[in-house]
């Protein structure tokens, strides 16, 4: 029964993935890609990785999908001009792609027989941190340097996106204007959903210490609420030069770094937590990170600042 479900899911993943590759219309491809992301998060559940599943659904499918939908909407006219590639080139590309796929698939049969695993050492030291979720433990205790740098990557991405604004628009309002007319139904959704979303995001971040969830997923839910409010026109996006906005953006990385340097004082190493204080420090870090992630994700999707007159 379960194997049947897995086979169906794997086939469906391949079909939907293939569809989004060969779809003629760009918007179709993007929407199929979003559906693919949701199916993929089901596959992650089947692989016993609930944290990854939540991240895939929220960021891989939701946030990436939204970015792509906005982009596909803006470049919709480009599809008229289709570059004609010769049939031979298509066949060559297909053969090459098939060789890559077969090569990687064959690796499954030469993997070392006795799989190595860090699950036991992680579980052994996890109680010291006060966390119950092993994935959160890896993210915030054992590999916290990775997590810190990943936040810096998000920050750099935002700076990169902003840097693409015209000089005249610098410091202005992000150019997210999907609905020019006010839509009363959408306004209703933008007024009723955010309170629920806020509570859910806080719950997700808080519960992430012990069960699947955490700052990323909570932050993405918050970002989604903010984008909904911006798209519906209930609140305009803020000017990117506004000091509170910039404070919210750097809050997460700054708190993370501060706690990291605090480690030099007490246990004597960067990003080491003092004995017995790991849990409160991690929760403080996650709170600041949730805020920063939400604001950065929202601004990444809202795009670079744009003047009022630009289309």
């Amino acid at each position: 029964m379960e194997t049947g479900f897995d086979i169906a899911l794997a086939l469906l993943l391949l079909c939907v993935g293939g569809w989004s590759v060969i779809a003629r219309n760009m918007m179709t491809a993007v929407i199929v890609f979003i559906a693919y992301g949701l199916l993929l998060s089901l596959a992650w559940v089947r692989l016993h990785a609930i944290d990854v599943s939540l991240t895939e659904a929220a960021i891989g499918s939701g946030a990436t999908g939204l970015l792509m939908v906005i982009a596909a909407h803006k470049v919709a006219g480009d599809t008229k001009r289709v570059v004609q590639l010769s049939r031979g080139f298509h066949v060559l590309a297909a053969v090459f792609a098939a060789l890559v796929a077969v090569g990687i698939a064959a690796l499954a049969f030469v993997l070392p027989g006795e799989p190595s695993s860090l699950a036991a050492p992680v579980l052994e030291r996890l109680p010291d941190s006060g966390l119950g979720n092993p994935v959160a433990g890896v993210l915030f205790v054992f590999r916290s340097f990775d997590t810190l740098l990943e936040k810096v990557v998000l920050l750099l991405a935002l700076i990169g996106v902003w840097a693409l604004a015209r000089d005249a628009d610098w410091g202005g309002v992000p150019g997210l204007r999907l609905f020019r007319e006010r839509h009363s139904v959408l306004t209703l959704l933008a007024r009723t959903l955010p309170p629920i979303g806020f509570v859910f995001a806080i719950y997700m971040t808080w519960a992430g210490a012990d069960v699947p969830g955490g700052a990323f997923q909570g932050g993405t839910v918050l970002a989604a609420m903010w984008i909904l409010v911006m798209v519906a026109g209930v609140r305009r996006p803020p000017r990117i030069s506004s000091p509170p906005l910039r404070l919210a953006i750097v809050a997460g990385p700054v708190v993370f770094l501060a706690i990291g340097f605090l480690g030099f004082l007490a246990p004597g190493a960067f990003l080491a937590y003092p004995e017995g204080f790991a849990k409160p420090l991690i929760v403080a870090m996650e709170t600041a990170l949730t805020l920063s992630i939400a604001v950065i994700l929202g601004l990444l999707i809202a795009g670079p600042p744009k003047g009022e007159d630009a289309p």
């Binding site: 007319e181 839509h183 009363s184 139904v185 959408l186 209703l188 959704l189 009723t192 959903l193 629920i196």
Partner: protein, 92 residues
């Protein structure tokens, strides 16, 4: 008894999902497709949730009910927006 109820309700829900998906793929025109889709959202998911409730503890059942209500809210509103954009222009 509870198991029988679960099997019946979830099967009925699955049939609705199948019918709705066939409708989504085969119906002509966006409005007809939306019509097919709303049945899946409301009744199909509702039946699946209802069927699974006796198998869960109280808290999990309440969470599933909340999921269904949220899908109702977003589904109804998104359908409205799509339908209005099909009819052209939306409201002024």
């Amino acid at each position: 008894m509870a198991d029988l109820f679960t099997i019946l309700a979830v099967t009925a829900g699955a049939v609705l999902f199948l019918a709705g998906t066939v409708g989504l793929l085969r119906f002509p025109g966006t409005l007809a497709r939306l019509h097919a889709l709303t049945k899946v959202d409301n009744l199909g998911l509702g039946l699946v949730v209802l069927g699974l409730m006796p198998q869960m503890g109280f808290l999990a059942a309440a969470k599933m009910l909340a999921v269904w209500l949220l899908v109702q809210l977003s589904g109804a509103i998104v359908t409205q927006i799509l339908a209005r954009s099909v009819r052209g222009g939306g409201e002024r």
